[in-house]
Symmetry: C2
Subunit: 353 residues, 2 copies
């Protein structure tokens, strides 16, 4: 199955972080998965904002999962595992009589590292939980973009009202400023470009269609990072290929001489998630110049193939040192890993469109 055409240097320390490496956010909860970290550099250290997915310890014959109730308090719902109305066919969801819940609830946990491989929590720990009516099922998959001196966190806000993109900013990783939902449902995978282009900010995002449309990458522009318009579809799925069912952007596109390089994920209908590259015009980022034919990376290591939700590598965070790109990724929706690439090698591998 190894189709990786370019050199991928997975960390020998993989997985860098496993669920048992962190403490649950509260008594009575168990961390089932660590997923899809946002990455950044701050004051000489590497920061990680990892998604922590928790639920109560599961008891034989029962299915239990947390929700925030109308009062904003955590509540545990329990069902009999053999209940005929229960559908557990997707490990990420609990469907009961047609009503969909998440099997876990996620928050974002801040970790620091001096070497990019060993991450530890600050004391006291620093977590971002869902807040308000649009985040009652939690917050997920945070991208961290640095614009000027400010870090902008774009993440998936999940509630019974739908799934959209929330944004928080911080300059000091102490005080958070909440900017509400910047892209409405159904939307995920929002990554901000880290500078203005011709006077406007840009982001990639991923709406999902109903009947018409699909799970495609779109671009939008903004005068202020908070209000977004001029939405355009720039990248669609490709029938029969590794990105046939869904595509979605990683974190902030990388500025290169040849254009903006975005790392994106592609998945099949069987939920096999791989990574590819996408090159956008420097002056008009809505213009796609080139794209990966085959994945630049695909699940092949045991920790990528097997886990809470196997055959998944998903990135929304990386660190750049010259030509070296360190991609941090969630593997099998369970553990956190990293792999190094040459940016030039990725650029060379792309196929003009």
């Amino acid at each position: 199955m190894n189709q990786e055409k370019i050199v991928v240097n997975r960390s020998t320390a993989n997985p860098l972080l496993r669920p048992q490496d962190l403490r649950p956010s509260m008594p009575g909860m168990k961390i089932e998965c660590l997923l899809n970290p946002g990455m950044f550099e701050f004051e000489g250290r590497t920061g990680m904002l990892v998604r922590v997915a928790e639920r109560p310890p599961q008891v034989d014959g029962k299915v239990s999962f947390p929700i925030f109730n109308a009062g904003g308090l955590m509540e545990i719902l329990n069902f009999d595992a053999d209940d005929e109305y229960l559908d557990l066919s997707d490990a990420r969801l609990v469907t009961y009589n047609g009503v969909v819940y998440l099997s876990t609830i996620s928050h974002l946990r801040l970790l620091w590292s001096d070497d990019g491989e060993n991450f530890t929590e600050p004391d006291p720990s620093f977590s971002i939980f869902g807040s308000g009516a649009l985040e009652t099922f939690g917050v997920e998959d945070c991208r961290v973009s640095k614009v000027g001196g400010t870090y902008y966190l774009t993440y998936t806000a999940v509630s019974e009202n739908g799934v959209g993109v929330g944004m928080i900013s911080t300059s000091d990783w102490k005080t958070l400023h909440r900017h509400g939902m910047i892209i409405p449902p159904h939307n995920k995978d929002c990554a901000l470009f880290e500078e203005k282009i011709n006077g406007l900010y840009y982001c990639l995002h991923r709406p999902s269609g109903i009947d018409l449309g699909g799970n495609y990458i779109w671009i939008a522009s903004s005068p202020d990072l908070i209000h977004w318009g001029d939405h355009r579809c720039i990248l669609r799925t490709r029938a029969g290929m590794w990105d046939s069912a869904r595509v979605g952007g990683g974190c902030a596109p990388i500025k290169t001489d040849r254009g903006w390089l975005a790392i994106y994920h592609g998945a099949t209908a069987q939920h096999r998630y791989c990574l590819g590259g996408l090159l956008l015009d420097l002056n008009d980022p809505a213009k796609v110049l080139a794209r990966s034919g085959t994945p630049i990376m695909e699940p092949q290591e045991p920790y990528e193939v097997q886990g809470f939700f196997g055959e998944v590598i998903f990135t929304n965070g990386h660190i750049i040192k010259g030509d070296e790109l360190t991609v941090y990724y969630g593997a099998a929706d369970e553990v956190i890993c990293s792999a190094k690439f040459s940016i030039n090698a990725i650029l060379e591998s792309l196929v003009p469109v």
Copy 2:
């Protein structure tokens, strides 16, 4: 079935417009339906921007419908009516082997009236067709809001990329300015408030959820009408009621002493569409003050109950004269009608929430 609790004065001239009253946009096409007009006043006359849905005349044993091909030219697709891969269970869609098309393609046609009941086309006629990659399946259901001296047209932009909200502005109904897609898929039913509130513009819009969420009314704010943020869910469907499956805003909310009165549609899973009222706080339009318990209007006349898609009344345009609200609506997805209400009577009928 008549549950209308307040006086609804349907025009005795209903239907005001039928498909045969207008000429097709080009030879070889037939107008199947007139739907859901946007309404406005300009230079002493009443303007209507009606949705015209066309397809080739249908021949026995065949199903034919138009699409714009990749080159932007109209193309007719034909299938055998008994093809086993063909699904025509919803008159609005043609599904072939899982791929969804629209059974008709819509444009917007401008009409004028001196009395609000007799509408005629200008000479030469004035139509707005879909333009660009996001409107290849047409444009639908246009709301017209007047902000300052400019008319803003928010409409459903339909393509194989998805369904979102496009915006066009004009000051003279001659020159159009296109502002691109202002709200990304999956979204419809976008109505702009006609003045700023506390320094920001507002709109109602209607995303649709996948797995989580539903067909709920949301509100967003903007500094410039083009870029939108701070999306919030303000109105959800109600199980077992007339608005159990979907709700969506009509046109610009009406400013009253008691708050912003929005007319909205509610539908059941059986696609029965009724109208209701919604009252929003004058200074904080994200705050819902009251809502219709029973519909203010529901399909009951023959032209509302039977047609291209029966049991539907749908409004996205009205004209206000003091307390008199004239709602223009599409009936049975086929003809255009109007009905008059007392604004105060609607306000009195709403149930505080």
